[in-house]
């Protein structure tokens, strides 16, 4: 790379540096006060840039509700970083509240509406003392369950706070606060909310959509246009900041990066991770500005020339930054978003094919084509000169590489390359499936299944067969191949026993005449759900919510091995499911027994036990053993 800048250009303040500094303050620095609504306004003024704007569908709904004159109060719930204060302030302003009054430190604010009603705003419940809190919660109760029509509350709180406050006030008043249960149920998506209470749970918004918005708001920000005239981007120079931003926008590869990141975020959400908007903003900032050698791991424009000259542009690769690899480990793991993304193990997970390509690809004739197509084509973050050199050193076994840790440099680079491959492998490369670069090898199938169910299309037969086989193997502890039916098996005693050879009940693997397994979409959790009916009618079935990790578990059990890392939790879940099926069978049997009571059946003197046995080909079948009793 060229050492010096064209004459007459000032490297100290590249044209977009104010914007980049502003964006940097959104990043995962130890002190990113900027990410609190309270500070954003000031920071904007100093940087003299346009704010990052995100739409807020929830805010529109809140405004509509107040405008409609609907009675009752508003609860804005969410976790830290979801934008509770932002929503609360925006609603205040839109209802005619004064920004100055808002900045005033008093935690409770009042406003009169044109329709004559009074609104009490509490922007953060945790700031209230007991007296203020009791007063606010009293108003909440009166306006929701009582007949208070002239005054209502708008309160922002995180989930735990409001439930705790309601419990405490209940204890003080020696009763159970009537709002606590409905609010708790609403948070957990079960049960009905009172009509006069509007709960906006900001943690419920779809993450893929929020991510899209954040990426658009950050990578598509108008300030980037200044980079066009930046000298750090000219004369063969590659600015990592601009490069990362380009790849994030994905104009050249149909937004592949953003789509795959969206997939990860979606899978993480369905696994129960919640990623607040504040975290997504930090992620976006980090992806673009991250660099392992920059101060606090985040670049400013002033760093770029130095990195270019040192030939370490690649150490700011967005494929590493997305996992926080540019940050000290502890700082990265402080944030749910990096913890969630770390759960995919991208960089550690790999396939033989992919590693073969990355290690031998440059030299091996058979791999050369694929190597140049998938790695060589990217001289910035893929086949960089230093990567190729490290690869050579590793392969030729130089002395240094044979010492302990001698290969550490190359292995570190290998991880980075695996991360890159996950994001860059096209779906058409069937020899190198990109999901195999993650701990969730079947996540692609999972997302396809979820989409199919949402569109009311049938589930792929191969996937269905995998689920059934996995289920049967967990149920019985035997390596059986059946895909046509589900064995509800018991060991006779505790359900927890490893092997269960006694077939309690069988159910067809697909729903026929109201009996058997069907796969549906649970509209509340948005996850697929296995619904196994042992008898007709809604009381005859047991359901099992299929999160990505549970699906992965079943698929891997189907492949014949149990993954140690996440098997315990899933196994427990599966055993609980099995116990419930056995319980259902027990209840149905008792019901039948009662019905049969009138007429002594042929069953009276005999007992039939069905033992599950396996044929040579792995097909399981139940063999009845008849026992004559009372002879």
């Amino acid at each position: 790379m060229n050492g010096s800048l064209p004459d007459g250009q000032d490297a100290s303040s590249p044209p977009a540096s104010a914007w980049v500094r502003f964006l940097r303050s959104y990043g995962p620095t130890p002190n990113n006060a900027n990410l609190f609504d309270e500070y954003v306004t000031g920071a904007l003024g100093r940087a003299k840039v346009q704010p990052i704007t995100l739409t807020s569908p929830q805010l529109d709904k809140m405004k509509q509700r107040v405008a409609s004159g609907a009675l009752g109060s508003i609860l804005i719930a969410g976790t830290a970083g979801d934008g509770k204060t932002y929503h609360c302030r925006s609603l205040w302003v839109s209802l005619g509240g004064n920004s100055q009054d808002w900045s005033d430190p008093a935690p409770v604010k009042r406003l009169s509406l044109p329709d004559g009603r009074r609104v009490v705003f509490v922007k953060d419940l945790s700031e209230l003392n007991d007296v203020q809190s009791d007063e606010a919660l009293g108003l909440l109760e009166r306006s929701v369950l009582g007949s208070e029509d002239s005054e209502f509350l708008v309160v922002a709180a995180n989930h735990g706070q409001i439930l705790e406050r309601l419990r405490d006030i209940g204890l003080r008043q020696n009763r159970v606060n009537p709002l606590r249960k409905p609010i708790q149920d609403a948070f957990l998506l079960s049960g009905q909310v009172p009509e006069r209470l509007a709960i906006y749970d900001l943690s419920r918004t779809s993450h893929r959509q929020s991510l899209e918005e954040v990426l658009q708001g950050v990578a598509g920000h108008p300030e980037w246009k200044n980079c066009v005239k930046c000298p750090l981007q000219s004369a063969g120079r590659v600015c990592p900041i601009f490069e990362n931003r380009e790849r994030l926008l994905g104009t050249k590869d149909d937004r592949q990066f953003a789509r795959k990141l969206g997939d990860l975020v979606e899978v993480a959400r369905l696994n129960g991770w919640h990623l607040p908007v504040r975290d997504l903003l930090a992620l976006a900032s980090n992806m673009i500005l991250g660099h392992r050698d920059a101060r606090e791991g985040l670049m400013a424009c002033a760093d770029v020339a130095r990195f270019q000259d040192a030939g370490i542009t690649e150490r700011g690769s967005l494929y590493d930054n997305v996992f926080g690899a540019n940050l000290p480990r502890r700082r990265a793991l402080d944030r749910p978003v990096f913890r969630a993304l770390a759960s995919f193990g991208i960089g550690e997970e790999t396939s033989n094919g992919a590693d073969g390509l990355l290690v031998y690809g440059a030299d091996d004739v058979k791999l050369a084509d694929a190597f140049s197509r998938l790695v060589g084509s990217d001289p910035i973050y893929g086949a960089t000169p230093s990567y190729l050199a490290a690869q050579q050193r590793y392969l030729e076994g130089e002395e240094a590489a044979r010492l302990d840790d001698g290969a550490a440099d190359f292995l570190g680079r290998l991880e980075a390359q695996r991360r890159r491959l996950f994001f860059t492998l096209p779906e058409t490369e069937t020899a190198y499936p990109f999901w195999w670069m993650t701990a969730f090898r079947f996540a692609g199938d999972y997302l396809d299944m979820t989409t199919a169910l949402a569109e009311r299309k049938p589930v792929n037969e191969t996937v269905r067969a995998r689920i059934v086989r996995g289920l049967n193997r967990v149920m019985t502890g035997l390596l059986i191949e059946n895909t046509d039916r589900i064995f509800v098996a018991s060991s006779g005693g505790f359900t927890q026993s490893k092997v269960s050879v006694l077939c309690d009940t069988e159910a067809p693997a697909r729903r026929v005449g109201g009996i058997g397994m069907s796969i549906k979409l649970d509209t509340q959790t948005e996850r697929p759900m296995l619904d196994v009916a042992l008898a007709q009618g809604s009381s005859g079935s047991v359901t099992f919510s299929l999160s990505p990790v549970r699906f992965e578990f079943l698929c891997r059990v189907d492949e014949g091995y149990l993954p140690g890392s996440f098997s315990n939790e899933c196994l427990e879940d599966m055993l609980a499911f099995k116990a419930k099926l056995l319980r259902k069978a027990e209840l149905l049997r008792a019901l039948r027994q009662d019905e049969d009571e009138d007429e002594p059946g042929a069953q009276e003197g005999t007992l039939t036990l069905s033992f599950i046995e396996i044929e040579q080909n792995g097909h399981g079948f139940s063999r009845p053993v008849t026992v004559r009793i009372g002879l």
Binding site: G78, T79, A80, N158, H159, G160, Q161, L163, E164, R167, Q184, F187, L188, S190, S203, G272, H274, P336, S490, S491, G492, G493, F494, T495, Q496, S497, V499, V501, L502, T543, F544, S545, N568, E569, E572, D573, A576, A579, K580, L582, R583, E586, Q593, L607, L609, F611, V625, T626, V627, R628, I629, L631
Partner: protein, 503 residues
């Protein structure tokens, strides 16, 4: 005069805890003994006032237990490539060699019950796989089939050339006390009815299989009285009863519920043991059990939970000494000492209280003080043989204490116990901090910083260590599928078997 206990040299522990709790009768054995009494009283289950005489006639089921645990030939005979008839014949001869002669001479009925020898062998294998301690090296007559139903219950026995006798080796009356406790709980009869309905279904398939092997039930020769429980009522009895009712109300198969019933019985019996000890020595503070939640990293709570274990371990011995010495504080003792025959009067008073000293013998002319000293020593040394080991044995058996990753025993609950706690405490779901409070209220378990606030105040541990401990529990429960995190600040413990559990 106090209740007289037969067959003891003196009665001290018996008046603190009852006759008797026994260290080697681990909770599952206590529950099995209990079920035998329940089965024998199936027409009035857990219905008995404190003054009623509860009696029962246990089953012995010599044929069934012999087939399962004194019958090592089934496997080898099955594997032989000989006709079915020959298998039966060969097996019959082998079995007859070890038969006890107590009703197991004629086993020909088995040929009628099973279509083939292989079927018979399969049934035996199935029942063995779920039996308690089937592979242990206990004597065969102390091994138990899973309590599938009324026909699967029998008492612990010693079987030798002289016949079968009840030597109280593993059924040492703890199950009898369990029966009395539950019958003295407010909702005892309700529980009794539920247990009979769920566990004593003679039509349950596995019970029918057991019956096919056993044939008609075999009983002990005569009915017997149950042991002695000093309290007509006790909050712990009610707690135990409520816990069992809660477990039975869960949406799970009864055979799975049994596992939780056993752990719950163990935990509550342990609490009873510690509570009575505290009360006896005049300690009004509730029992406290500081638990370390084991995680990958070493925690500061470990030392504290080790201390807590030691403190509780010492309670019962202190109670025994106190129980003896407290006699000196009574008015009766003062009168006796001031009487014309202080030695004789004190001895009489002691005898009324402790069934000791014997009327004649070496203690005849000892002073009152010397008698108290003597008995206290005797009582302490007897206590250490069995009663004194209860805390250690039971807390380990229910998974409350452990030496995992440490040199010294401390409270470090295992997954099985945690599961039982959730199944018992949580109806459907409960906020995590409430769950911790409830575990503290019911069983004295101290896990988080809020339950251990007084320990922090007393500078025994820093708050951070306890809140980390609490975090470790949350993580463990997430791993067991028992906690759902709503956000950083808010998580719920969920009972997967709650009546409306949605997953």
């Amino acid at each position: 005069m106090r209740h007289q206990i037969e067959g003891v040299d003196f009665a001290v522990d018996e008046h603190i805890w009852g006759h008797r709790l026994y260290d080697e009768q681990l909770p599952h054995l206590a529950v099995l003994e209990f079920l035998g009494i329940l089965g024998s009283n199936a027409d009035s289950p857990l219905i008995a006032t404190p003054t009623d005489r509860v009696r029962y006639r246990p089953q012995r089921q010599i044929r069934l237990r012999g087939l399962l645990f004194n019958n090592p030939y089934v496997e080898s005979v099955r594997e032989r490539a000989i006709p079915d008839d020959d298998k039966w014949k060969t097996w019959k001869e082998l079995f007859a060699d070890d038969a006890t002669g107590l009703g197991d001479d004629d086993m020909d009925y088995l040929r009628q019950a099973f279509l083939s020898f292989d079927d018979f062998a399969k049934a035996i294998e199935l029942l063995r796989s779920s039996a308690f301690e089937a592979r242990s090296n206990k004597r065969w007559s102390s091994k138990f089939v899973f309590p599938f139903g009324p026909d699967a219950l029998y008492e612990d026995l010693r079987v030798d050339s002289k016949g079968a006798s009840n030597d109280r080796r593993f059924f040492a009356r703890t199950g009898e006390l369990l029966y009395l406790m539950l019958s003295r709980a407010a909702r005892g009869p309700e529980l009794g009815q539920k247990l009979i309905e769920r566990l004593f279904d003679s039509k349950a398939p596995m019970n029918r299989l057991v019956k096919a092997l056993q044939g008609e039930p075999q009983f002990a020769h005569d009915a017997r009285d149950v042991g002695y429980l000093p309290y007509a009522s006790h909050p712990r009895f009610d707690r135990l009863c409520e816990d069992w009712l809660a477990i039975l109300s869960r949406d799970m198969p009864i055979y799975d519920a049994l596992e939780h019933l056993i752990v719950s019985a163990g935990l509550n019996l342990l609490m009873y043991f510690l509570e009575c000890a505290k009360k006896q020595s005049g300690d009004a503070e509730p029992v406290e059990i500081v638990c370390e939640i084991v995680s990958r990293e070493r925690t500061k709570v470990r030392a504290l939970s080790g201390d807590s274990y030691q403190t509780n371990q010492a309670l019962s011995l202190r109670a025994v000494r106190a129980a003896v010495e407290q006699i000196k504080l009574t008015d009766g003792w003062a009168d006796a000492v001031g009487s014309e025959d202080p030695e004789g009067e004190c001895a009489k008073l002691m005898r009324d209280c402790f069934q000791w000293p014997p009327a004649e013998g070496e203690y005849e002319r000892l002073s009152g003080d010397a008698l108290v000293r003597e008995l206290a020593e005797k009582a302490e040394s007897r206590h250490e043989q069995h009663f004194g080991k209860i805390h250690a044995a039971w807390s380990r058996a229910i998974g409350l204490s452990s030496r995992r990753l440490a040199r010294r025993t401390r409270y470090a609950p295992n997954d099985r116990l945690l599961k039982t706690l959730v199944v018992t405490i949580v109806d459907e779901r409960m906020q995590f901090d409430e769950f911790l409070q409830e575990a503290r209220r019911r069983y004295g378990l101290v896990i988080g910083d809020s339950e251990g606030a007084h320990l922090v105040r007393e500078k025994q541990v820093d708050q951070e260590a306890l809140s980390e401990n609490r975090g470790n529990l949350e993580t463990r429960l997430v791993g067991l599928g028992l906690v759902r995190r709503l956000s950083d600040s808010c998580s719920f413990v969920e009972n997967p078997f709650g009546s409306k559990g949605d997953e």
